[in-house]
């Protein structure tokens, strides 16, 4: 695997005693959250639907500016505040969010296009290289509507990689895919995002176990984060008996959180 994306400055986030509350709500969504998002590692937030994991991710992505009130201490690489985060984030959602009017190649180059730099030949060359890595270079000129769900999500992955940001936020990016495609994409994402700091949201314990260095389970009302013991080895892991047992434990833990 010849990974061309040069690892830039690494970025780790520490969250201490944080709480988030929407302006129009009385109860905070998250309270007393403590998390260490390690630089260059995959940190997974696991929790049931509606527990507030997306809120936390969207907050980190700067998508909730003016909508939530935050308390507690957020720091990046030891420096307080996450105001700088805005330009260091790439965001990958459950939907591929490919623009249907742009070709696959133009979709991969979307960040450049939105910066007004759409004809930069270097960026296009890099985009083609990334499409090669996700196995879609032959479809570079196709429209997204001509691709299957798994192919579309691979294009979205290439688009995320082109942004080359130190922090990648992923909101259930594989949950709409069939099992085989999901497995392939997990593998591919783990390889290509090796040097990045990744925060992954999922409700699938197996996905969390396969991909993460560190898992946090969000539970409670308002939710707080419980750290699981760090996992051994490098993701993507093969699913073995040990992981199966851990998955059992995780499932019963998640079940217990919502009686």
């Amino acid at each position: 695997m010849n990974n061309t994306s040069v690892s830039g400055p690494r970025l780790g986030i520490a969250i201490e005693h944080a709480s988030l509350r929407y302006h129009d709500a009385e109860q905070p969504v998250l309270a007393n959250v403590n998390m260490q998002i390690g630089a260059g590692r995959w940190t997974t937030l696991l929790g049931r639907s509606g527990c507030g994991k997306t809120t936390l991710l969207r907050y980190l992505a700067g998508l909730l500016d003016g909508q939530v009130e935050s308390q507690g201490r957020f720091s990046i690489n030891g420096e307080a505040g996450i105001g700088d985060l805005e330009h260091q984030v790439a965001y990958m959602a459950q939907q591929d969010l490919l623009f249907p009017w742009l070709s696959v190649l133009d979709n991969v180059c979307l960040s450049a296009r939105l910066q007004g730099d759409k004809h930069n030949p270097q960026i296009r060359a890099k985009a083609l290289e990334l499409l090669e890595q996700v196995g879609l270079v032959a479809q570079a000129d196709a429209l997204p509507a001509q691709l299957s769900g798994g192919m579309r999500q691979r294009v979205a992955l290439a688009r995320t990689l082109l942004q080359d940001k130190p922090l990648v936020l992923m909101d259930e990016p594989f949950s709409a895919l069939d099992a085989v495609t999901r497995h392939q994409l997990q593998e591919l994402a783990a390889k290509l995002l090796k040097d990045k700091t990744v925060v992954l949201i999922t409700h699938d314990p197996q996905e969390a176990l396969r991909l993460s260095h560190q898992i946090y389970v969000l539970q409670g009302q308002p939710a707080s984060a419980n750290a699981l013991p760090a996992l051994e080895g490098e993701p993507p892991r093969r699913f073995n008996a040990e992981l199966a047992e851990l998955q059992e434990n995780l499932l019963s833990m998640l079940e217990a959180s919502h009686v």
Binding site: F99, W101, L114, Q133, A138, A142, A145, Q146
Partner: protein, 268 residues
């Protein structure tokens, strides 16, 4: 990345030529059916020619008076096309303003609704008074009648940009201007296209109403004249051209829009 399967499940596109031929065959079949029905009614009910002329008589008129008909058709076609152009750009500008200047919306919306509440027939005489008997008053008339559907379609399209697109653009640091031109406007195009499809059908009504109220040229004028002189076959000939014009306009617009916006109907 050789371990990834290169499955190409691209949607098979039907050969465009055969689709075209099929459409044409269907259209001519339904036209033939209508003509046959028309002829049958004339025969069965023994319609006098001054109530319902036979298709043959109308066809004969089309041929014998083609120069006059062509001249008036050209005038009406100009009114329709320029009216469409004016109405579409007005609608787009209005929708953009309502999107960009939210406070302005409260002031603009009543104007928009009023433009629709006053029947076009009622303002037609006023437009004649202000803009004269020439082509201008008919263009404005056609523009006014399509203004409302175009504006609402366009505004809805601009306002309902999928939130995911906007989030993505935001995390990519796009300026508001680029969000508008690169995300909101293209995302609104399918909605605008439905507005255009409606407008293309409605615009001829505006033009013809304008001609009825006062003009010296155009198919509407010709129909009034023919009616007054009991030239019913000529009236039908004009009507036939008008209908053909509208249908041709619709299918041209529809084909063009489908070609230009191949992603219509596909969404996340």
């Amino acid at each position: 990345m050789s371990d990834l399967p290169q499955v190409s499940n691209a949607i098979p596109a039907k050969a465009p030529r055969s689709r075209w031929v099929g459409k044409l065959v269907k259209a001519s079949l339904s036209l033939l059916f209508i003509l046959a029905l028309w002829q049958a009614i004339v025969w069965i009910f023994k319609m006098p020619a001054f109530i319902l002329p036979s298709p043959g008589a109308v066809l004969a008129k089309l041929v014998s008076r083609w120069d006059v008909l062509a001249h008036h058709s050209w005038v009406t076609a100009q009114e329709i096309l320029l009216g469409l152009l004016l109405g579409l750009s007005m609608g787009l500008c209005f929708a953009l303003q309502m999107l960009l200047f939210q406070p302005l919306r409260r002031w603009l919306l009543p104007i928009l609704i009023a433009s629709q509440a006053i029947p076009v027939f009622a303002i037609a005489p006023v437009l004649m008074l202000w803009l004269g008997y020439g082509i201008a008053s008919k263009i404005v008339m056609a523009a006014l009648i399509i203004f409302f559907p175009v504006t609402t379609c366009c505004y809805d399209g601009l306002r309902n940009t999928p939130r995911g697109y906007l989030d993505l653009a935001h995390t990519m640091g796009a300026s508001p201007w680029r969000v508008l031109t690169q995300v909101r406007l293209p995302a609104a195009l399918p909605a605008l296209a439905s507005g255009i499809r409606v407008a293309v059908v409605v615009a001829p009504i505006g033009a013809v109403v304008g001609e009825w109220v006062g003009s010296s040229e155009g198919l509407g004028y010709l129909m009034l004249q023919a009616n007054a002189r009991m030239l019913i076959d000529e009236m039908f000939a004009a009507l036939f051209i008008l209908a053909s014009l509208s249908v041709a306009l619709y299918f041209t617009a529809d084909t063009l829009l489908n070609k230009l916006l191949p992603w219509q109907g596909s969404s996340n």
